[in-house]
């Protein structure tokens, strides 16, 4: 299995991938620094620490959410593209090796996602320690876990859509859903939006969706199993 994960790692280890990851993370660095109101000076930040703290926390997490969802979808698109599917011909000799190939792909994406997530969360944690704001560790952890679940959701959606339609552009659908939800949740309080938030994990609709977390876990587990089965049954 490790050899298959290494193979997928090699596949996504190319210039474009690194360029996009680095640019996105650089933008995130700038965004988090800007959200801290550092341009107003430390004394000002300290003076209004209670007023700014919550805003800083919310804005930083929103930025992290955008970055993580974008990168997750991009990783899903890179791993799920038909060129990588073609590599099965060289590495599959039996049903077992085909299973390893597919599971290896799923795990590679998850591994990358986790790695970027850990980096991003550590970044926020370290940067916050240089500001006068108090980061509530429990809230921070809860939001992080929720964000991780959201990323898994979009990752699985991307892989499944890429598989069904076999086109790179299909990865844009989860991205559009994400943007739409972000805009609608922040601008409208319609009951329909609350209803959608119950069924699509997103940070802003956290309160609405957290009750269904077990259902989400089951749903995405079965979607992953389904993805594996469909690929196993598909001809190379």
């Amino acid at each position: 299995m490790m050899d298959y994960i290494k193979l997928h790692m090699d596949l996504i280890n190319h210039k474009t991938m690194w360029l996009i990851v680095i640019i996105t993370l650089l933008i995130l660095h700038g965004g988090i620094i800007y959200a801290s109101q550092i341009n107003e000076g430390y004394a000002y930040m300290d003076g209004f620490r209670h007023e700014f703290s919550l805003d800083y926390f919310n804005e930083s997490f929103q930025l992290m959410e955008m970055t993580m969802v974008f990168l997750t979808i991009f990783i899903g698109m890179t791993l799920g593209q038909s060129n990588n599917q073609g590599l099965m011909i060289y590495t599959v000799y039996s049903r077992k090796s085909k299973l390893y190939f597919i599971v290896g792909r799923l795990l590679t994406g998850l591994f990358w996602m986790t790695l970027v997530m850990v980096y991003v969360l550590t970044l926020l944690y370290i940067f916050t320690s240089y500001t006068p704001y108090d980061l509530q560790f429990n809230d921070y952890m809860q939001a992080s876990i929720h964000l991780y679940k959201e990323c898994i959701q979009y990752y699985i959606w991307t892989l499944c859509l890429m598989q069904i339609f076999n086109h790179m552009l299909m990865g844009l659908i989860p991205l559009m859903v994400f943007w739409l939800l972000e805009i609608l949740t922040s601008t409208s309080n319609h009951s329909f939006i609350n209803h959608i938030n119950k069924w699509v994990i997103n940070i802003q609709g956290y309160e609405a969706s957290k009750k269904n977390i077990l259902i989400f876990a089951i749903l995405y587990f079965f979607m992953s199993i389904n993805y594996i089965i469909v690929l196993l049954k598909k001809d190379c």
């Binding site: 050899d3 298959y4 290494k6 193979l7 090699d10 596949l11 190319h14 210039k15 060129n83 990588n84 073609g86 590599l87 099965m88 011909i89 060289y90 590495t91 599959v92 000799y93 039996s94 049903r95 090796s97 085909k98 049954k233 001809d235 190379c236």
Partner: protein
């Protein structure tokens, strides 16, 4: 010491595609010691049978083959362009559980044979079609397979490389099970070759 023959037994094998019949009820035994050549016109089922043997497609019927090391070079190669020749072959070698020092020896042999030593650190996307075909063949032969299946191996190769490959394949067929699909069976000059002619999904 006479080694045990390696064989693939195919029993009542059929493969149907959505619009056409790939293979129709084929039964055959392929044994080592001979060079098995699949020939026939386009769409006659050569590549389909090979894909069935490699478990790359779903089929009806039965294929019996023991778990030997296997090397397969597909007709349509699809290698990741951003990887260098070495990175790609090493990744394939790892999956084939090739011991690292052994990998270097084998790699050197084949790179010299195909005159590709100077391209080892070059990204695959910058190689010509013929060179890509050579990489495609090297990855199949790298792990000293006992079963070698090459689909249209002569396509894209220059005359010199074709000669070298043919010689190598004939040598290997003495103790391995070698199956080759080609439109030029006459190029493989050996008494031990067995030509299987395909026509409309059947072996005549």
């Amino acid at each position: 010491m006479i080694s045990k023959p390696i064989n693939i037994t195919i029993n009542d094998l059929s493969k149907t595609y959505q619009q056409s019949k790939g293979i129709v009820s084929v039964s055959k035994v392929f044994e080592s010691g001979k060079l098995h050549i699949f020939s026939g016109e386009n769409g006659s089922g050569k590549s389909t049978l090979i894909k069935c043997m490699m478990n790359l497609v779903h089929y009806q019927g039965h294929i019996e083959k023991r778990r030997y090391r296997i090397g397969y070079a597909p007709e349509h190669y699809n290698m990741p362009g951003h990887m260098t020749v070495n990175e790609f072959l090493r990744a394939i070698g790892r999956i084939k559980h090739l011991y690292q020092p052994f990998y270097h020896v084998e790699l050197k042999t084949y790179l010299e044979m195909f005159d590709l030593s100077h391209k080892i650190n070059e990204p695959i996307k910058y190689l010509s079609n013929g060179m890509k075909q050579k990489i495609n063949l090297i990855q199949a032969l790298l792990n000293q397979p006992k079963i070698i299946i090459l689909d249209e191996p002569l396509v894209g190769l220059d005359v010199e490389s074709q000669k070298k490959l043919i010689k190598r394949v004939i040598d290997l067929s003495k103790h391995c099970l070698v199956i080759i699909s080609t439109h030029y069976p006459e190029k493989f000059k050996t008494k031990r070759k067995e030509i299987h002619h395909f026509y409309q999904g059947k072996i005549l």
